[in-house]
């Protein structure tokens, strides 16, 4: 190029100086080094302190460098970027640690023996024992809760989307929203108050399942409602125009179109209630023995098992608690991933 101003890009007044592309990485590396250096020099043993020092040095360093080279506006921009990255890392560390520690400590006693034996007469301090009785309890309680909550939830969602107009529908929508936020322990106390204290029925898996179904219903309603709203009106109108009654339209056209999304919602709701401890603690009571009958006598459940083994506090029981936590996380994660896979696979056509 013969044109002098074009070649001398750096002298342009439209764009001030800028830091090279690798500078954030360099500043990050530098601040990690400073953090480690300071911590070693001061003899700090906690990695949380190391990380905090490094994060503060990183944000400040970014601002100082950028302000000197690029000006204040660019510096603010860079600080925001570095803060967002720091937020991300700060959040990821505990979450990764949670998964990592659960796997690392859980695999110690996690084997087929653990999955296929109950606690029976195993004392807290003894090794051995397993979660068979807890798995049975969890499956039965969650199964009964789903049997109660899914039909009610799906029908309510159908009412809201297909029929709902006026005061009743608005009230139902509002209270479904509010119900989503009921603490699990309050649901447990409610079933306790009328089933056990007033009707005098005794602790059982079924009582726990009722509380779980209360927690599950609003989640099912919400997700089903969202899915039904995605079904294009043209489909409904086409079916009604052929003279099909409304209820058959709903059963044969609307529901099959949205069944993938509804399944996803139900699976996510199941995953949510599987991990609930508080209502089970209040209503199912817990036992070390196998009880296959959810309608009579205390049962166990996975979350409750974790709590009891942790509370026992011996090394053997803590190992069992971690292994059960691993089993619970695996179960919930598989449900979640399956649900999301179904959602992607069966996503409704949005009519465009």
């Amino acid at each position: 190029m013969s044109n002098a101003p074009v070649t001398r890009k750096h002298a342009s007044t439209l764009r001030g100086g800028s830091l090279p592309k690798w500078s954030p990485w360099a500043i990050a590396a530098g601040s990690v080094a400073v953090g480690m250096g300071v911590s070693l020099a001061a003899g700090l043993d906690s990695k949380i302190q190391w990380g905090l020092i490094a994060a503060i040095v990183f944000v400040l360093g970014t601002y100082v460098f950028a302000a000197r080279v690029e000006g204040r506006r660019q510096a603010k921009d860079r600080v925001a970027t570095s803060l967002v990255w720091v937020c991300f890392i700060v959040a990821v560390v505990p979450l990764v640690s949670l998964i990592w520690e659960t796997i690392k400590r859980g695999v110690k006693v996690f084997d087929t023996y653990f999955l296929s034996h109950s606690m029976g007469v195993v004392a807290d301090a003894e090794t051995g024992g397993g979660i068979y009785h807890a798995i049975i309890g969890t499956l039965e309680q969650v199964g009964i809760a789903s049997l109660i909550a899914v039909p009610i939830g799906v029908l309510t969602a159908i009412y809201l989307v297909e029929y709902g107009r006026g005061k009743l529908a608005r009230a139902v929508t509002f209270f479904v929203d509010v119900m989503t936020g009921i603490p699990s322990i309050v649901a447990g106390l409610f079933v306790l108050s009328f089933w056990i204290l007033i009707l005098d029925m005794g602790y059982s898996g079924f009582a726990g399942a009722m509380a779980l179904s209360i927690l599950m219903m609003p989640v099912v309603v919400r997700s089903t409602e969202e899915m039904l709203k995605l079904v294009p009106n043209e489909l409904r109108e086409a079916s009604l125009a052929l003279g099909i009654p409304k209820w058959r339209t709903i059963l044969k056209v609307v529901l099959p179109t949205s069944i993938g999304g509804i399944t996803t919602g139900v699976m996510l709701a199941v995953a949510r209630i599987t991990g609930e401890t508080a209502p089970v603690l209040l209503l199912v009571w817990g036992t070390g023995f196998i009880n296959n009958n959810p309608f009579d006598g205390p049962q166990a459940s996975l979350p409750l098992y974790i709590y009891r083994q942790y509370s026992a506090g011996t090394p053997a029981s803590t190992d069992r608690a971690w292994a059960a936590a691993l089993a619970l996380i695996l179960f919930v994660m598989i449900l979640n991933m399956g649900a999301r896979a179904i959602a992607r696979w069966k996503a409704p056509k949005t009519g465009r």
Binding site: S46, V84, A91, D177, M179, F190, G275
Partner: protein, 335 residues
């Protein structure tokens, strides 16, 4: 064929069709199948309302049984002795602990969650954003008891250093002084709750930020705004109410959390001036901890405290929903 009969009958007012049948034909609910189906679905809607009402009624009834015999002031007593012959119990400590731990959790979680949401929508390389969002979705499903186990065994020992720091540099405030007990205090609970509600707040905020109008952002960029200025001027104002309601949902979760608090906190029935010294309690934690030894009367007293928690979370969630509903978008369905 009932289609033909209906369509011929409806438009001209035939002399034999009475007013009632005409009305029904107009509503389109003449077929028995339709009527049954409508009744079923409306019935389940009503059932939900009945359950909500029943929760309020039964909790209030059992709570009133306990409160009528309470010798202490339910709101101000610093004791929980339901076994005494005139029983004395009050929720002052629990209310304080619940509010304080929730405030700490919100103060820590909301800024970080907004940061992660922005990271996913505006900062992360496009290929990274999707998987990160997916993983955070999954983390929202980790059961609270697992968070509790992790918090009690992994997090608590790690906090010794941080607590020592706070004591050294901020101990003079009184809030951050530390007598050196195990770090199982309100601050620990707040930190753990913050980690737990982070995924929920992130997910909702992310959705809102993603919907921020692209045109506004491009217009700002075209005017020479930096990325941060774009976010501050067009994304954050758009997402403000979404973030507020997301935070309220997180707050509702933090207020009602039971197991994580029960495993991490070492409770006592007094209020600690310092956030770092172990002690205090929350509504849900107190219920879980006291339940096994409680008599029927003790359970009623716990139900009374649960009723207070119920009302608080109702208010918080109702407020959150009110904010969300003010800006509901149009949906494709008839409703």
């Amino acid at each position: 064929m009932d289609i033909s009969t209906q369509s011929t009958e409806a438009p001209p007012p035939a002399p034999r069709s009475s007013g009632a049948t005409r009305k029904r034909a107009a509503r389109g609910a003449t077929r028995p199948g339709d009527r049954v189906f409508l009744a079923l679905s409306r019935g389940s809607g009503i059932l939900l309302l009945v359950i909500m009402a029943a929760i309020a009624v039964f909790l209030t009834y059992r709570a009133s049984l306990a409160l009528s015999k309470n010798e202490g002031n339910f709101l101000t007593t610093f004791e929980w002795n339901t076994g005494l012959v005139p029983p004395v119990f009050g929720i002052a400590v629990l209310a304080f602990g619940t509010v304080v731990s929730a405030i700490i959790a919100m103060a820590l979680a909301v800024p970080v969650a907004v940061g992660i949401a922005l990271f996913i929508t505006h900062y992360a390389p496009r290929k990274l954003g999707g998987p990160i969002a997916y993983v955070i979705d999954l983390l929202a499903a980790v059961p609270s008891i697992v968070y509790g186990l992790w918090g009690a065994i992994v997090l608590v020992p790690h906090l010794n250093g941080l607590f020592g720091w706070l004591d050294t540099y901020l101990g003079w405030t009184g809030i951050f002084s530390w007598q050196g007990g195990a770090p199982r205090s309100m601050l620990t609970v707040g930190i753990l709750l913050a980690i737990m509600i982070l995924p929920i707040i992130t997910n909702v905020s992310r959705e809102v930020f993603r919907q921020a109008p692209q045109m506004h952002q491009e217009a700002a960029l075209a005017l020479g705004a930096t990325r941060w200025e774009v976010i501050r001027m067009s994304v954050l104002p758009f997402g403000r109410s979404g973030v507020i309601s997301a935070s309220m949902l997180g707050l509702g979760r933090a207020l009602g959390e039971t197991m994580a608090v029960a495993t991490v906190l070492s409770p006592s029935f007094d209020i600690q001036a310092s956030l770092l010294d172990p002690g205090g309690g929350t509504f849900a934690q107190n219920i879980a901890a006291k339940f096994n030894e409680a008599t029927v009367f003790g359970q009623d007293a716990l139900i009374a405290s649960g009723l207070v928690l119920f009302v608080i979370t109702l208010l918080v969630n109702g407020a959150a929903r009110f904010i969300i509903n003010r800006r509901k978008e149009y949906s494709g369905a008839n409703a």
